[in-house]
């Protein structure tokens, strides 16, 4: 039987299948079932600093509204002993997950303020997470801030978090960088132990009858895998840290492609959400079969085997597809 094991940020994993940050990993029961089905590590849903801030503000507003305005009703809601407005609920999830499974538990954090990122990263480490994934994504709406400014902030942030915690830190990236490879390199320098490609976001959709903006998040499609493979294949070898693919991984073949491109792990969320947790078991089995059928001894053997360094025509990664489609032989001859 082929050896499926891999290493991700220094964590030994029994295979490259990782449950991505999603509603699936919100419950310890699900995490346990994922482990049973063969998942090698889980990434918890993100702790959103902005959400904590907003929830705190909303709660405050709700309790405030109407209070001390009328002699008969100086408040309108009972005063409860706790509202769990801080990160406690999330930290408890880490603790309970760690207590329940043997596989590594990777926490995920989306901060807003520099102090928030560091503070919550420390809390997460103390709660026992094996690693931390930084879910860095802000919509750049300020026309006065350049891409360079934002990238600088991002790298500084990673540096600060890395110097504050001892657990490995991954950075989950969006594809929207002018020079993703350069950015990857900078993050690598800043200390990131892995880069996760790519984040998927809620996208505002329009309700053209009601003239309203409606946020939507669809489950991923297999075709979303391609840009990820593309960028992993390009970045592989340029950085010391590991790479991970998330988004569009829907089968064992997709996992193979990820690893061949250079990813140490392939993360899945939409496929098990759509097909149930048992689907992981099938992917695991298929992966084993595929390796055996193709006479691979181990996953490590294929790591980066189709990266830009390893393919006969690296230009395939360097040009737009339409060029290749129009005159693919010509390109190859060059």
């Amino acid at each position: 039987m082929a050896d499926l094991s891999t290493q991700y940020m220094g964590l030994p994993l029994k295979n490259p299948l990782v449950a991505s940050s999603s509603p699936l990993t919100e419950s310890v029961d699900n995490i346990r079932r994922l482990e049973d089905m063969g998942i090698a590590a889980v990434v918890l849903p993100s702790l959103f600093e902005e959400q904590l801030t907003l929830e705190s503000a909303v709660l405050d507003e709700d309790l405030w509204r109407g209070a001390e305005e009328f002699a008969e009703a100086t408040t309108y809601l009972p005063d409860l002993s706790t509202y769990n407005t801080g990160p406690d609920g999330y930290l408890e999830l880490i603790r309970r997950a760690k207590h329940s499974v043997a596989i590594p538990v990777i926490a995920s954090l989306n901060g807003v303020t520099p102090s928030g990122w560091v503070r919550y990263a420390k809390h997460i480490e103390q709660a026992g997470a094996d690693a931390l994934e930084l879910n860095i994504y802000t919509i750049a709406t300020d026309p006065l801030r350049s891409g360079a400014d934002l990238e600088e902030d991002c790298c500084e942030l990673v540096h600060q978090v890395k110097t504050s915690v001892r657990i490995p830190v991954a950075v989950k990236l969006s594809p929207y960088y002018s020079s993703l490879t350069h950015m990857a390199k900078r993050l690598d320098h800043a200390g990131a132990d892995a880069l996760v490609l790519f984040n998927r976001f809620y996208q505002p959709d329009f309700d053209i009858e009601g003239l309203e903006v409606v946020p939507r998040l669809h489950l991923s499609h297999p075709e979303e895998l391609l840009p990820r493979l593309h960028w992993v294949a390009i970045i592989f070898g340029h950085i010391k840290g590991n790479l991970a693919v998330t988004g569009g991984v829907h089968s064992a073949l997709d996992v193979v492609k990820c690893v061949m491109a250079g990813a140490s792990v392939a993360m899945m969320a939409s496929a098990p959400l759509e097909n149930g947790v048992r689907f992981i078991h099938r992917v695991h089995q298929d992966l084993e079969h595929w390796l055996e059928e193709h006479e691979y001894e181990s996953m490590r053997q294929m790591l980066g085997s189709m990266s830009h360094r390893a393919v006969p025509d690296p230009a395939a990664f360097q040009r737009g597809n339409y060029m290749k489609v129009l005159s693919s032989y010509a390109l190859r001859l060059r």
Partner: protein, 1202 residues
């Protein structure tokens, strides 16, 4: 070691003892005692143990009568029990109180004493409730202060066990129940030392038990009842000594020594005042002031009023007393004198003491009682012929009972600092001042007192905080009259009220103003400038709203103004003060999260840089002055009486100004221009599709539409907007949607419901909010012009269409309801549809407060002078009250018909025939009948026979009247449920409108049986465990009751139709109206969205059950909303009442949500099956039509299965 002193109010002080000495606590909300029940429920939820280490069981009942019943049962079965109540609540407990006392059962009822409703309801304090219960056999023990409320609570609980006589422990509602004061709390050790464990065990041994069965509550006959009744005498005789013994034991434990009667004053006093309750503080201060000047005066404070101990009374009263004034805080019309007076007179006679005794009334409904009034009483006692049965504190210019007093007389020492703060409820002034009192009282050696006065409006209400602190204990249980610090937290108050009238010379005046130190003077009204110069005030300004905005605090300026107060007053060094304020912020808001703390801290840190002292000029420069409270053109009664109340001068009104029977004119709210909205809606006549939704949902009737002839526009003010009507039949006319700028509360419900959006800029609608200030003057002119436009004839409109309903004149406007209220749109609709022939019986609650609380009230009249006639009886009896109205109206109509027939010769046969046979089922028919009655009046004019005069007196009853019984869910589901059910069962033609907010909104959101499963409410802090009662199905079970469940936001046309059908139904009708509420915990601007979501989720299925359809062979049960299309969570988790639980206890919340979702599914199955039932064929018909009795029921879904 003694516990450190703490700041508490009277309710918490009493509840802290009652909770720890009880095992079963039966509760029901009523102002001002509700907080005691709320605390008990909260402590239970927190798992706080009583003295014996167990957590008491706390149960909310359906009424105070129910609470007393549950208490009685718990006592019988051996538990230590208590309850809390006030006013009407205590009256409802009286039957059980006789039983509990008659059976010699130890128990304590804690009462925040409050006025009993007579000519009017009052939530404020006096002794009319406890005096109404003095005959029940309960012992009555009075606390005069917050400290005493905790001390004597313990005495009551300890003494009842030993005496076996139940105790009513009372203190003055609001004045003591809501006053913050620095007190010594009682520890468990204190409780344990005073309560006799042996007597606790004896009580338990008397419990009903099948192991040692006895029978209690027999029926007795003339032979023995009397003797048995006298058998209790020994217990009552022994009781006073037991109480004194407990008081002595308490003194040994705590050092505070009370007596049955406590005398203070000269040992050789000649003049003594006898008093009970918080007024004792003012009398005591006066006694000390007079005694220091050599006057031989004293005060006897009655603590144990029942059983009245003659010996203790005689011993406490100095032998030298020559004249006594007894002060009663109650009124017994027709009696020789009030209760305490009668007891004192009798007591003197029975103890063979001679002294001249006079009695007087004071302080009804929390009327101020000050040392000046106390001095007037002592002065009266000096007279050769002092006035008996006097009043003090008012000017009685009718029966001349009142004593004159000198308001300039004050006793307060220079060592006590007195500060007054004027704020809005919404700006957080009261909350900050409560924190200030805690800081001063708990972090400095000072004593401190805080008392808070609110106005009667629920939107834009003004609060006045009275803070005293100083080195000596503060017992001044009256409002501050001379303040050394005045804080005005809202600049606009300066043009509305006299905030500086109580400033003493040289006082500090802190003003929140949107102007800098160099500009503010020019912005002050003339009167304010006069007062600042005349009283030599030091003026400080801060632009607190700017600081708040910069700190992310929105419009909350509480901590900013608090920081200014500490900085200027110098109570603490600035750094210490800032630290203490931040500590208080953490204590108050810490649970709400780090972000909230940080923004509050930021506000504190930014404050001092924005605080400036103003260099006050030497002369008055103002060219404007304060505004009159109501306009000069208002009717005389409004100007002379209501306007005075609006101006804060109600205390000055004499008896002659007040209607003796509580009858007031309607249509007065329009004279009180409150200008509370920061932003108001502005109409875009081009975008508007004239759907009428904004008019329908406006809670305050400030957005209205008219269609009128274009010729009317000739005199229109410049800028008056108009559009072509979007009705085919009115196309030649003009349409205007107009906003009342000074009456709008700025809730923005109208904007949220507006469906017309700009095609170029999606956020721009046909109505948009804009700042009020620049619009105030031009839009006021437009509003006046709009009001003068004629109303469109109602017969030209289709009343079932929302679009047409907007053109019906509302006869309910500008109420004091919350901004965005979910109830008032339904009431307004009711007045639009039936207002000119409407009688309303209104249950006590929100709708009676915003509907009928002085100074001004919202029900109004149309141009013909007709409009709703409104009355509030009680909380519990509203259905019966409305039924009585119906019976009267019907009987008068019948009598009128009888006279019409009898006088046919004088009226004319044809008119008589048409009057008697009139079809008044529709509005046209009613209007025709109105003309006939007018004709009848004309024909009978000048005729003088008794029968003609009788007919003319009742002729209006020939017009069909619409009787509506209106109230909230507390009434309909709980306290009034029995009456509601009975009235439905009578089959009489009454209409009931249940404004279902799913909690007791008026008293602050306590759980009712309408509260949904999974929502938190007061008394259900852990989330309501059971499902909401299906009141609709209960009513439907009668078969002849019209029932509708409506939600304006889920179906506005459905709502309008339901109102019309209910009114047209010749029997009883019931409309249950989803009313979003501030107690649901979200911005009420989204109320209509939530109503829609409630319907979409299936939580609030829209139904109509119309018995009239049966005659048409149709199923009376109509399910008018679609099957649930969104999960319950999507609706519920927009509201804090649900999400609070999800935050505090996620597992419980998830479980309750799951169960609630199942409730939705189950109810939907029942409803949809019932709606699908087939009717049996009617006689003569071959095929089945829709109907009630099932002929084919889908398998597994038979009715009744659920």
């Amino acid at each position: 070691m003694a516990k450190p002193m703490v700041i508490l109010d009277g309710n918490e002080a009493a509840a802290a003892v009652a909770y720890r000495l009880s095992e079963v606590i039966a509760i029901y909300p009523i102002t001002p005692s509700s907080p005691m029940g709320e605390l008990a429920d909260q402590w239970k939820e927190e798992g706080k143990a009583n003295l014996w280490g167990a957590v008491p069981l706390v149960v909310e009942m359906q009424s105070e009568g129910g609470a007393a019943g549950a208490l009685h049962g718990a006592l019988q079965a051996g538990a230590l029990g208590t309850t809390f109540t006030s006013s009407q609540g205590l009256l409802l407990m009286i039957p059980n109180m006789y039983k509990i006392a008659g059976e010699l059962t130890p128990a304590v009822i804690h009462v925040a004493a409050r006025a009993v409703a007579t000519h009017a309801l009052s939530i404020f304090g006096d002794h009319s409730d406890v005096m109404g219960a003095r005959q029940t056999g309960f012992a009555l023990l009075a606390s005069n202060s917050v400290q005493e409320a905790t001390d004597l609570a313990l005495v009551a609980h300890a003494a009842t066990l030993e005496a076996r006589i139940p105790f009513l422990h009372f203190f003055d509602g609001f004045r003591t129940s809501h006053e913050l004061n620095k007190i010594h709390p009682l520890s468990d050790a204190d409780l344990g030392a005073v309560v006799s464990g042996e007597h606790v065990r004896l009580h338990r041994e008397r419990a009903l038990s099948p192991d040692r069965p006895v029978l209690r509550g027999t029926a007795q006959n003339p032979d023995v009842f009397f003797q048995a009744r006298e058998a209790v005498n020994a217990y009552y005789r022994a009781c006073p000594a037991i109480v004194q013994d407990v008081m002595d034991r308490f003194a040994r434990q705590t050092g505070r020594h009370y007596h049955l009667f406590d005398y203070v004053g000269a040992a050789d006093a000649e003049r003594v005042v006898v008093v009970m309750g918080s007024a004792a503080g003012a009398v005591e201060e006066t006694v000390e002031w007079l005694a220091a000047r050599g006057e031989k005066v004293g005060v006897l404070k009655v603590r144990l009023f029942r059983p009245f101990d003659l010996d203790a009374f005689a011993q406490a009263l100095p032998r030298t007393v020559q004249s006594i004034a007894v002060l009663d805080r109650t009124k017994e019309p027709g009696s020789i004198g009030e209760p305490l007076y009668l007891d004192v007179v009798t007591g003197l006679m029975e103890t063979r003491r001679t002294a001249r005794v006079i009695g007087g009334r004071y302080g009804l409904s929390s009327k101020e009682f000050t040392p000046a009034m106390a001095k007037a009483v002592f002065d009266e006692l000096k007279k050769d012929a002092p006035q008996n049965h006097f009043t003090v504190g008012i000017q009685d210019d009718v029966t001349h009972t009142s004593l004159a007093y000198d308001p300039a007389f004050v006793t307060e020492g220079a060592k006590t600092v007195r500060a007054l703060f004027y704020g809005l409820g919404s700006d957080g002034t009261v909350g900050a001042n409560k924190n200030s009192i805690k800081i001063i009282g708990e972090e400095t050696p000072n004593h401190a007192q805080g008392y808070f006065v609110y106005d009667s409006k629920k939107a834009g209400s003004v609060t006045v905080s009275h803070l005293r602190f100083g080195p000596d204990p503060i017992r001044s249980a009256y409002l501050i009259e001379r303040a050394s610090f005045i804080g005005c937290h809202q600049f606009q108050f300066l043009e509305r009220m006299d905030v500086l009238s109580r400033a003493e010379s040289g006082a500090i005046f802190l003003l929140n103003a949107p102007f800098g130190a160099g500009e503010v003077w020019e912005q002050l009204p003339r009167k304010v400038q006069e007062q600042i110069l005349g009283k030599k005030l030091r003026l400080f300004v801060i632009d607190a709203y700017t600081v708040a905005r910069e700190a992310g605090m929105g419009r909350r300026i509480n901590t900013i103004m608090q920081t200014c107060f500490f900085a200027i007053s110098g109570i603490l060094p600035r750094e210490e003060a800032v630290k203490a304020i931040k500590g208080a912020i953490e204590h108050t808001y810490g649970k709400r999260g780090e972000a909230v703390l940080q923004k509050n801290y930021a506000a504190v840190d930014r404050t001092l840089a924005h605080l400036f002292e103003v260099k006050v000029p030497e002369k008055i420069t103002a060219h404007f002055d304060v505004l009159p409270a109501v306009p000069e053109r208002a009717p005389a009664f409004v100007r002379g009486v209501l306007g005075q109340i609006v101006a804060g001068l109600g205390d000055e009104l004499p008896v002659s100004a007040m209607p003796p029977d509580g009858t007031f004119p309607t249509g007065t709210a329009k004279w009180e221009k409150r200008n509370i909205a920061q932003e108001i809606p502005v109409w875009d006549e081009v975008l508007c599709i004239q759907c009428g939704k904004c008019v329908l949902v406006c809670p305050h009737a400030v957005i209205r539409a008219k269609v009128y002839d274009s010729s009317q526009l000739a005199s229109a003010p410049e800028g008056f907007k108009t559009a072509k009507p979007r009705w085919r039949e009115f196309e030649t006319l003009r349409y205007t949607l107009q906003v009342a700028p000074e009456d709008c509360t700025g809730c923005a419900l109208c904007v949220e419901v507006c469906p017309a959006k700009s095609k170029s800029v999606a956020k721009y609608k046909a109505i948009n909010m804009a700042p009020q200030a620049p619009l105030r003057e031009p839009e006021s002119k437009n509003w006046e012009f709009f009001l003068a436009l004629p109303e469109l004839a109602r017969e030209r409109l289709s009343l079932g269409q929302v679009k047409d309903v907007q053109l019906l004149e509302p006869l309910f406007e500008f109420s004091g309801a919350c901004a965005g209220c979910g109830e008032t749109p339904y009431i307004k609709l009711m007045t639009q549809l039936f207002g000119d022939r409407l009688l309303i019986a209104n249950a006590t609650g929100c709708s009676s407060i915003y509907g009928g609380n002085l100074p001004t009230t919202p029900y109004t009249t149309n141009l013909q002078g007709r409009g709703p006639a409104w009355s509030n009886s009680l909380f519990e009896d509203n259905a019966e009250f409305g039924l009585g109205m119906r019976l009267a109206v019907d009987h008068q109509a019948e009598y009128a018909r009888h006279l019409v027939k009898k006088l046919a010769g004088e009226i004319g046969e044809e008119l008589v025939r048409r009057i008697l046979n009139a079809d008044q089922s529709r509005e046209e028919g009613i209007n025709e009948q109105r003309e006939r009655v007018a004709d009848l009046r004309r024909r009978l004019a000048g005729k003088e026979s008794a029968e003609v005069r009788d007919l003319l007196a009742v002729a209006d009853s020939l017009l069909r009247k619409s009787v509506w019984i209106v109230g909230g869910d507390g009434w309909a589901y709980d306290i009034g449920a029995g009456g509601l059910d009975h009235v439905l069962g009578t089959g009489m033609n009454v209409n009931m409108l249940v404004l279902d907010t799913e909690v007791y909104s008026n008293t602050g959101g306590q759980m009712s049986k309408a509260t949904p499963r999974g929502a938190v409410a007061k008394f259900a802090a852990g989330g309501k465990q059971t499902a909401k009662k299906d009141l609709a199905m209960e009513a439907i079970s009668y078969g002849n009751v019209y029932v509708a469940r409506v939600a304006m936001g889920g179906g506005d046309t459905h709502t309008v139709k339901a109102f019309l059908e209910a009114e047209a139904h010749p029997g009883p009708s019931l409309i249950i109206a989803y009313s979003h509420c501030i107690a649901h915990g979200y911005d009420m601007m989204f109320g209509i969205n939530q109503q829609k979501a409630a319907v979409l989720s299936g939580y609030w299925p829209l139904i109509r059950y119309n018995p009239g359809l049966r005659a048409e062979g149709r199923n009376p049960f109509q399910l008018d909303s679609k099957a649930p299309s969104i999960p319950l969570k999507q609706y519920a988790y927009q509201e804090a009442r649900y999400t609070m639980l999800a935050r505090s206890n996620p597992e419980a919340a998830a479980e309750l949500l799951q169960m609630a979702q199942e409730d939705v599914a189950r109810r939907w199955r029942v409803y949809s099956n019932r709606a699908a039932l087939q009717m049996p064929p009617r006689p003569g018909e071959k095929s089945p039509a829709a109907g009630e009795a099932p002929t084919a029921v889908p398998a597994g879904t038979k009715e009744g299965e659920e």
